[in-house]
């Protein structure tokens, strides 16, 4: 793989960009791999990358039903933060945040990680108590968090309407939070993994497992059988469907979560705004579009659309907070299928089948942990034992009762 650099940009520019090398190969599947990762989204590709880069496992394949990053990786609102209440959550999300901070250099690929600050607003006494508790917990975990008064909020975001129907009473700011270019994360990891010898196989759907006396030996796909020493499944919304093929159930339900973007405008909002109380989150992309996240539908579905009334539920609060946006037109709306656990924390775990590992349940907020999830999952698969930071997120917690109950305490885009 030739590294991208200013020099290569100039050289290829002089040549009318005719000679850029392919970012990754499209090989035919081999008959056997040491590790097969099911799911070519950010988390799956990151897992493959770290397996090859740090764990010395080079004989790896990533199997993807559609195209790379075509699922939730390409459908989220690109927000990155690590402002979680509980120690276990802080452990994984801050682990990811530290990887984000050097990811573009690590991958030699600009993931456009922008630590523009993430401001969580409080609109009631309850909200103030919640950010007070969470802000201090974050601080005790050694992660940055600051409390802002309404006056400081107004200074930071001059276009905000503090005196809306539920007036802004304060804010919790994580300055290291921000956004990243979601497609670039998938592409960067894919390119990096491919250069280390990982086979990325697109348009290849998993149809079943080869399980002998409780141990996985391979998978059946739309492109034939592929033998595997170990299998890692990272398929988000379809985790329950794949688990059923392997003969067990998961504590998950899949819901559509939708987002929308406006027409592009000049820079007007230079941080991420989240409001749990009135339920909206918004940032401005580098193209100038406002990226607005709505709520998830209140019923399970695999439709990848999202219902119409959720749009009204997010646009109302958006315009209360930012009346200046009232004349903006929305360009696109879409939905992704998120796999939600009852405690709103992810699952990184062994399963009832030996050598089959699942990484799922990231719900409505998996993008932010892409590097951390991949890193911890890779080390867990390679070693055969869950990494100490991933261990609390075992499927067993739903039977032992040791839930990581982050739901009520997390910010809105959880």
């Amino acid at each position: 793989m030739k590294a991208y650099s200013l020099l290569s940009l100039v050289r290829n520019g002089l040549n009318y960009h005719q000679d850029w090398q392919q970012a990754w190969r499209s090989p035919d599947p081999k008959s056997h791999y040491d590790v097969v990762i099911i799911g070519g989204g950010g988390h799956g590709l990151a897992t493959a990358y770290y397996l090859a880069k740090e764990c010395g496992v080079r004989n790896v394949a990533v199997i993807e039903k559609g195209w790379l990053g075509g699922g939730n990786t390409g459908r989220n609102t690109t927000i990155v933060r690590s402002n979680y209440l509980l120690d276990e959550s802080a452990g994984i999300y801050e682990h990811a945040m530290k990887l984000w901070e050097s990811l573009s250099q690590e991958l030699n690929y600009n993931v456009m990680f922008s630590q523009r600050g993430l401001l969580h607003l409080a609109h009631s006494v309850h909200d103030m108590q919640e950010i007070g508790r969470r802000g201090n917990a974050i601080h005790l975990n050694g992660i940055d968090s600051e409390f802002l008064t309404p006056r400081q909020v107004k200074k930071m975001v001059p276009i905000i309407n503090l005196d809306c129907r539920y007036p802004v009473m304060g804010g919790l700011l994580q300055r290291r939070g921000g956004t990243a270019r979601h497609d670039a994360v998938a592409w960067g990891y894919a390119r990096g993994a491919d250069a280390l010898g990982v086979d990325i196989i697109q348009n290849c759907e998993v149809q079943g497992f080869d399980i002998e006396s409780g141990t996985v030996k391979g998978i059946h796909t739309s492109r034939g059988r592929i033998g595997a020493g170990k299998v890692g499944c990272v398929v988000a919304g379809h985790s329950s469907v794949v688990a059923e093929m392997a003969g067990f159930r998961l504590p998950l339900e899949s819901y559509p979560l939708q987002a929308l973007v406006s027409e592009p405008v000049k820079p007007i909002l230079d941080c991420v705004i989240m409001s749990n109380g009135i339920h909206v989150y918004v940032s401005q992309s580098d193209k100038g579009e406002l990226v607005v996240g709505a709520g998830s539908d209140p019923y399970t579905s695999y439709s990848q659309r999202g219902s119409f009334d959720q749009i009204e539920h997010v646009v109302g609060p958006l315009l209360e907070l930012f009346p200046v946006f009232s004349r903006l037109r929305m360009l696109r709306q879409w939905g992704g299928i998120v796999d939600v656990t009852v405690d709103r924390s992810p699952i990184m775990s062994k399963t009832p089948v030996n050598n089959l590992y699942f990484n799922c349940g990231w719900g409505t907020g998996g993008f932010k942990c892409t590097p951390g999830s991949g890193h911890l999952f890779a080390h867990s698969i390679a070693k055969g034992e869950m990494h100490e930071k991933a261990a609390p997120f075992s499927i067993d917690r739903f039977n032992t009762g040791a839930l990581i109950d982050e739901g009520a305490a997390a910010a809105v885009a959880h």
């Binding site: 059923e244 159930r249 998950l252 899949s254 009852v342 739903f398 032992t400």
Partner: protein, 91 residues
Amino acid sequence: MFTIECPWCGNRDQSEFTCHGEAHIARPLNTESMTDEQWGDYVFFRKNTKGIHYERWVHAFGCRRWFNAVRNTVTDRISSTYKPGEKPPAN
């Protein structure tokens, strides 16, 4: 958004209803002798079906009564609704 046929009061807008997940999960009777394993399975583990799904709804902003629906979770089309205690239709 779609409309839902409430078996008690007829066709109404979906926004009047709330969904309460997979139907026909019977509460176990031998609760005092169940293991943590069995409790976890009963409380948290779900089929999460892609396709025909039997589920519980409440007409929350209407008659406030419970009923069951058969919905295709890929298309969101509801093929039938029926009252609690009634035999579930085959699709």
